[in-house]
């Protein structure tokens, strides 16, 4: 049987270095089966340290109340909600890569989807912390659930965007987790069948649910993945849309904006991809997976970054234009005085946001820059800083001067406990990611094998050769006429 050509010749191979199926298994299982490196331990211990800092900060907040944070009369939301929106945004790239790109049949997603999905789950876990602890009396957090209660029963307000958030985030987390775990089943079975140690056999045996790779299982698995992708695609758009409703449905100048839903989604994908880049650049280097997460992958993700960065840029400008064009004086004031005016207290953050999110990604129009690892790494950090400031700008610059000048607040800076809490979520995120990279395959083994004959180095070469031979034979045959 000749190899069918599915992919264009101009695309680089997605699996480099003449691999066969067994070699793929070996390469990807190696980091899981080997003892962790010193570098892993260093990273892990730092992460756990940060996590403990977070635990202490949160404990302080629970004991003393949200007064531990520097929030004041006008700025009722500060770092906590900024961080919440930021972390939710980080999560979006994972679902985008695994769901939307699956529907679009993008082969390159296979190299990065597993790590990206894991990132989604950990990021949503981090995001969820903020609204929960921001409640202050966290032991009453179950009030957000609609259950028959002793207060009437007084139901939760189903008309409130904050409750939509509860449903959106919890659904998003559940569906992402299921999607990720269902994808893991075949790979866990691979690890189980390779395991030599007893505890490994037991652990992966339990975790893989008894997966055998039967054709019927694969058929259902494929159907499941496709429908879950179909469900996740509108879900991921809905989640950040709903997060943006927290702001957009309010009457605060600077928040009450109809462009928020698409603009938030684009921003989320933008920051999510930046985080995927940060993680994968480190992962491929540390675990020696450069042949699976190739420059080609980095390149396409940078293209997504420049696209979404530009969408975000257009959204910023549209927002600004409409603030002026709408003749709403409060809206225009919020933009003119609180943001664009560099000498205003938070003017610097607006320009930091613009610089990091709109200007800097434009560098990725150049192929050389897209394929430069150092530039990509630097940019991925810059974009994440920029996107954090985007949320900060939206939240703080909109509310520190409200309709009532007498309540205009003084300059808001976070306390050490607010910073500690944020750092703690980094600790949680990276602790989870380190554990994940130790115990689970960071690349979807089965999916990589699936695209090998289409995009593997050796197979692509063979296909090119075959094709050229056919072409030559064709030309030769036609020359006689």
């Amino acid at each position: 049987m000749s190899l069918n050509r599915y992919e264009s010749q101009v695309r680089g191979p997605l699996v480099e270095g003449s691999k066969d199926y067994h070699q793929i298994t070996e390469d990807i299982c190696r980091p899981v089966e080997a003892t962790p490196s010193k570098l892993w331990w260093v990273g892990f211990i730092i992460s756990v340290g940060l996590l403990l800092f977070g635990v202490v900060s949160v404990t302080m907040e629970v004991i003393y109340g949200t007064g531990q944070w520097n929030l004041n009369k006008t700025i009722g939301w500060g770092w906590d909600i900024t961080n919440f929106v930021w972390w939710v945004g980080i999560g979006h790239a994972g679902t985008l890569i695994s769901a939307i790109l699956l529907l679009f049949r993008q082969g390159w997603r296979t190299g990065v989807n597993r790590a990206a999905e894991a990132m989604t789950i950990f990021a949503v876990m981090c995001a969820g912390q903020f609204p929960i602890w921001h409640m202050g009396r966290v032991w009453n957090a179950f009030f957000v659930a609609p259950y028959p209660n002793t207060r009437g029963p007084l139901w939760v307000n189903f008309n409130s965007p904050l409750l939509w958030d509860v449903f959106a985030i919890s659904t998003y987390f559940t569906v992402s987790l299921l999607f990720w775990y269902c994808g893991l089943l075949p790979d866990l079975a691979t690890l189980r069948d390779r395991a030599k140690l007893k505890w490994r056999k037991l652990f992966y045996g339990v975790a893989s649910f008894g997966w055998t790779g039967s054709t019927k299982h694969w058929q259902r698995h494929e159907a499941l993945s496709l429908v879950l992708a179909g469900l996740s695609t509108p879900l991921v758009l809905s989640v950040h849309t709903i997060v943006s409703f927290d702001f957009a449905t309010s009457v605060i100048p600077g928040w009450h904006t109809t462009i928020f839903p698409p603009y938030f989604v684009a921003g989320a994908v933008f920051s999510g991809f930046a985080m995927v880049q940060t993680l994968l650049l480190i992962t491929r280097k540390v675990l020696g997976l450069e042949e699976y997460i190739t420059i080609e992958h980095i390149d396409v993700m940078n293209k997504v970054i420049v696209l979404t960065g530009s969408i975000v840029g257009i959204a910023y400008l549209t927002e600004l234009f409409i603030a002026w064009y709408s003749h709403v004086e409060y809206e225009w004031f919020a933009f003119r005085e609180n943001r664009v005016n560099l000498s205003s207290p938070y003017g610097w953050s607006y320009y930091l946001m613009m610089g990091c999110n709109v200007l800097s990604p434009q560098i990725f129009w150049f192929k050389k820059m897209r394929r430069n690892l150092l530039v990509t790494f630097f940019m991925s950090i810059l974009v994440n800083i920029g996107m954090w400031f985007e949320r900060f700008v939206i939240i703080v610059t909109s509310i520190y001067r409200d309709y009532l000048p007498s309540s205009w607040s003084t300059y808001y800076t976070p306390t050490i406990w607010e910073i500690g809490f944020y750092m703690g979520t980094f600790g949680l995120f990276f602790t989870c990611y380190f554990l994940f990279s130790k115990f689970f395959p960071v690349i979807a083994i089965a999916e990589i094998k699936h695209i090998l004959k289409r995009s593997g180095d050796n197979f692509k070469e063979k296909m090119d050769k075959d094709e050229n031979e056919t072409l030559e034979a064709f030309q030769h045959a036609n020359a006689h006429h």
Binding site: T25, L178, T190, G210, W211, T215, Q219, L235
Partner: protein, 195 residues
């Protein structure tokens, strides 16, 4: 528990596997299953399997979610405990769409995953035998079920001829729990007549 016999053959290339499946089925052998390390599109059709109805189940779960959301919220806010939120009507449907959507997705996803696990008999602590541990690595394993009429020697020779390597006769106990092979739930859509 009855003991069943299987003849298993390993394939290392899907390009060999496909024609082999066709040949073996044409010859009238009962292919119990083919175990592969990754999904191979079209193999299910080649084996004569019916399409899965999992997505229909997903759709039903989805509608259940929508119905649950709309009926519950309607009851809670218009009948059980009416609250005037900014002068809006008690039945304020547009504001409920986000939650209706989320519950649709939630019910559908969770329901489908459970159905998937149930159909495939996958659960923690279930341990299934799949004839060759390398079938989750780089080997495509075809298992032919021996019936009373099967001539083992002949079947082995046939399978080898079709391109299989390391052909073996293996026996397994029926049932699907702990260490047994998969229950025979593979439904064949169209029967292939024996030659």
């Amino acid at each position: 528990m009855a003991i069943k016999k299987f003849i298993t053959g390993n394939f290392y290339d899907e390009a060999v596997l496909f024609p082999a499946v066709k040949k073996v089925r044409r010859a009238g052998y009962k292919v119990h299953d083919v175990y592969t390390p990754f999904p191979i599109h079209g193999l299910d059709k080649e084996l004569g399997m019916k399409d899965t109805d999992l997505h229909i189940a997903g759709f039903i779960y989805g509608i259940t979610g929508t119905t649950t959301a709309i009926s519950f919220i309607t009851w809670a806010l218009t009948l059980d405990w009416q609250i005037n939120f900014g002068g809006k009507p008690f039945f304020s449907l547009p504001a409920w769409i986000p939650i209706m959507f989320e519950l649709t997705v939630l019910f559908s996803a969770v329901g489908m995953v459970f159905t998937f696990c149930w159909l495939c008999q996958l659960a923690p602590f279930v341990k299934k035998d799949h004839f060759n541990p390398r079938s989750t690595d780089d080997t495509f394993v075809m298992a032919i079920e021996c019936t009373d009429k099967t001539n083992e020697e002949e079947a082995i020779a046939f399978l080898k001829n079709a391109g299989a390597q390391d052909v073996q006769v293996q026996s397994r106990e029926t049932g699907w729990w702990f260490g047994r092979y998969d229950r025979d739930t593979v439904r064949f859509g169209k029967k292939v007549a024996a030659v």
